[in-house]
């Protein structure tokens, strides 16, 4: 073992000895793990880390899991852990980091992002929710949409327009919003699956202190880009075992159910199998690049390809099920539980996976990003970059 690994093992042992998981309150344990710098070892000391390389983290997680320690339920706070924390780490003051990051990691405070609007989807930089300066605070008005977790969240990353007379990219600013502030109204937004996974958030004269601004006034687009790059890594990365992920259900059905083995679907199944394995290896290669500190641009392509695979796998599952695929389990409005993948019928997954190519940047936007930033192709002629936002056709 390396010196680092020995030191980590010693620290883990210290936490487990002082706070035996079986007799320790869940939150108390998580706070102790955070205080010991073992929450995310690549974060700075005092913020749950030890300033180490991120490649040590999977082993730390594995040792805690093997010891029966509780985890911080990461699926219930994906935006906090994956996007808010890196943004706060980069742009917030040390005092704000101390306030926000510990309860973020333990899951005591959930985060969401208030970026998209009904009129600003792929064209996020056209966002129109307004923020007007009033003394030490800003007064925010507008409507945000597609907000996962807003109904559970205490904090939100908020993109607003502070300079409507400037061209659209230059007039945005970025804040952290306390969702308990008067004037915040979170309403469920029902989706085609029947569930309400997302929300609409209405902001009516909501006061946000200027000290909660991340980045300079007018730098909101830059800060948003930093957040979104983390989102795409979070959505696209990682490599499981062979036949894990979206392909798993369909190959299981094929193996276990002779009547599902329709000759006309055999080659489609095998194409999916090879696509899934190619994607798994591509994710592994991206992970290896990150480990040696040389991340490639492959993440954008992975997100795109993963969406296509997940959609095709769910759709093939319906074909293999035949008449059973005509049934649906439950159209009633409910809030999904993110702690584990919901146990739903194939039709649910067919519908839910249609969102994979929309959420977190549509596949069309991903193709623009790849062709412009990776391949260096020019953008389409733009009519909206040099005129004041207020004068854009809406």
């Amino acid at each position: 073992m390396t010196d680092v690994a020995v030191d980590l093992a010693r620290r883990i042992e210290g936490v487990l000895t002082a706070h035996p998981p079986e007799t320790t309150d869940r939150l108390e344990f998580l706070r102790a793990r955070f205080a010991a710098g073992l929450a995310w070892v690549h974060y700075p000391e005092g913020l749950g880390g030890l300033g180490l390389d991120a490649r040590y983290q999977p082993d730390v997680d594995a040792v805690f899991a093997a010891a029966g320690a509780p985890d911080n339920r990461p699926h219930g706070n994906v935006i906090g852990l994956g996007m808010a924390a890196p943004t706060v780490l980069r742009y917030a003051t040390p005092e704000q980091q101390q306030r926000w990051i510990p309860p973020l990691w333990t899951g005591e405070e959930i985060w969401c992002q208030l970026f998209s609007e009904p009129g600003a989807g792929s064209d996020l930089a056209a966002a129109g929710a307004s923020a007007r300066r009033d003394g030490d605070a800003w007064v925010v008005n507008g409507q945000k949409v597609w907000t996962s977790l807003a109904h559970d969240a205490r904090w939100a990353l908020l993109l607003v327009r502070t300079g409507p007379t400037l061209p659209k990219h230059q007039g945005l600013s970025y804040f952290v919003l306390d969702l308990t502030t008067p004037g915040v109204d979170v309403r469920s937004l029902r989706q085609l699956t029947g569930e309400a996974e997302f929300n609409e958030v209405f902001l009516d004269d909501v006061r946000v202190p200027d000290e909660n601004r991340l980045g300079e006034i007018g730098e909101g687009w830059k800060v948003t880009q930093a957040t979104l790059m983390n989102e795409r890594v979070a959505i696209g990365g990682g490599a499981g075992t062979r036949e894990s992920g979206p392909i798993g259900d369909v190959v299981r059905l094929w193996r276990e159910s002779p009547q599902a083995r329709r000759p006309e679907n055999f080659d489609a199944l095998l194409r999916l199998w090879t696509d899934a394995e190619a994607l798994r290896l591509t994710g592994a290669r991206l992970g290896q690049q990150l480990e040696v500190g040389a991340p490639g641009p492959e993440g954008s392509g992975l997100k795109l390809a993963f969406a296509e695979l997940a959609q095709a796998a769910a759709s093939l599952q319906l074909d293999l099920l035949g008449s059973e695929a005509l049934r649906y389990d439950d159209w009633s409005l409910r809030r999904p539980d993110f702690s584990s993948p919901p146990d739903r019928v194939a039709g649910y997954w067919y519908l839910r996976n249609r969102a994979n190519s929309i959420e977190g940047g549509t596949s069309e936007i991903m193709r623009n990003i790849i062709s412009e930033r990776v391949l260096g192709l020019p953008s389409e002629p733009r009519v909206d970059t040099d005129i004041p936002w207020k004068d854009l056709p809406k």
Binding site: R261, L270, L375, L377
Partner: protein
Amino acid sequence: MSQIPSLLYADVEDDLRRAVRVMLADRAPIEEILDRSDQEDAYGKGARQIWSGLVEELGVAALAVPAELGGAGASWREVAVVLEELGRGVVDVPFFTSAVLATSLAHEAGAIDLLGELATGEAVGAVVASFAAPLVPPEGLTWDGRVVSGTVRTVAGVAEATHLLVPVADALLVVAAEQADALAVPSLDMTRRVADVTFEGVEAAVVAEGPEVVVALARSADLAAALLASEQLGLAERVLELTVDYLKQRRQFGRVLGSYQALKHRLADLWTSVTQARAVARYAAACASATDGPDASDLSVAASLAQAVCGEVALRAAEECLQLHGGIGFTWEHPAHLYVKRARTDALALGTPSWHRRRLADLAGLPHPA
């Protein structure tokens, strides 16, 4: 997390790539390969000099051969890097047929003397089986224990070969190339041509006999399929570059073609596929190089996956290159057709992508439909 081997390029592999690329830039410009692609004896007209440089100066034929058998004691991973570079330039040298196909078979069958000569370049080998079939003993040959007779059609790399490895039922033979009658035929792939090989009662030396021949052929087939993916990867990368470069300068309707979203999105999809082809080809090369453990035992899956994925990606890349070059891409003077012909042929060589998908079904335990 998982036991996936390194899919990155090691420093030594980067160094090797640089050396090969510098040499090929100097000696194998695409214009010259294009010029001689329809000439008889293209090998004598220039490719032989490239081959000498690669083999004698860079020692690329020795890479995968163990040091104690006269080789460089590197691995198939390094061979894969050479193949990427040769694929980029559709270079008309017998590297794949001799340094991969014949060398892997000689190694697996224990043809030690020939292996040493293949490594140094004294010998150039070819395996007498149709290039468009998974590697099995071809039909049409008779072997009576002393002489071999018969004809095998569409064998790759014969014109350049000094030694022919001839698989027959239950034996692997070696024959000096001049003892065979090799009839060069017009070939779909102009930079890796095929010939019909006829033996008229030729005395042959037995390299191996019995079940070990079957084992050697099977493993050699996997190695060759695994490695061919790197040639396909190099080809795909190169034609994507050519297409992107062209679309950056070609103007129609007053705009650079590369600014049209309809075209940009196609290239973004292609780039995404190429990144997957790279991961798959690297995995295949890593499994080919492993001598034991899970990577070695996954070679058959890795090889068929590599052909199912890289065969199609290279072909799509070459076809997109042709299409997006428009009229100029369809001309004889533009090299796009060399890439299309190579990619189309590579997707036939050693089994088509469809064939490899069916094989993966068996390897992965996915039952065929009733």
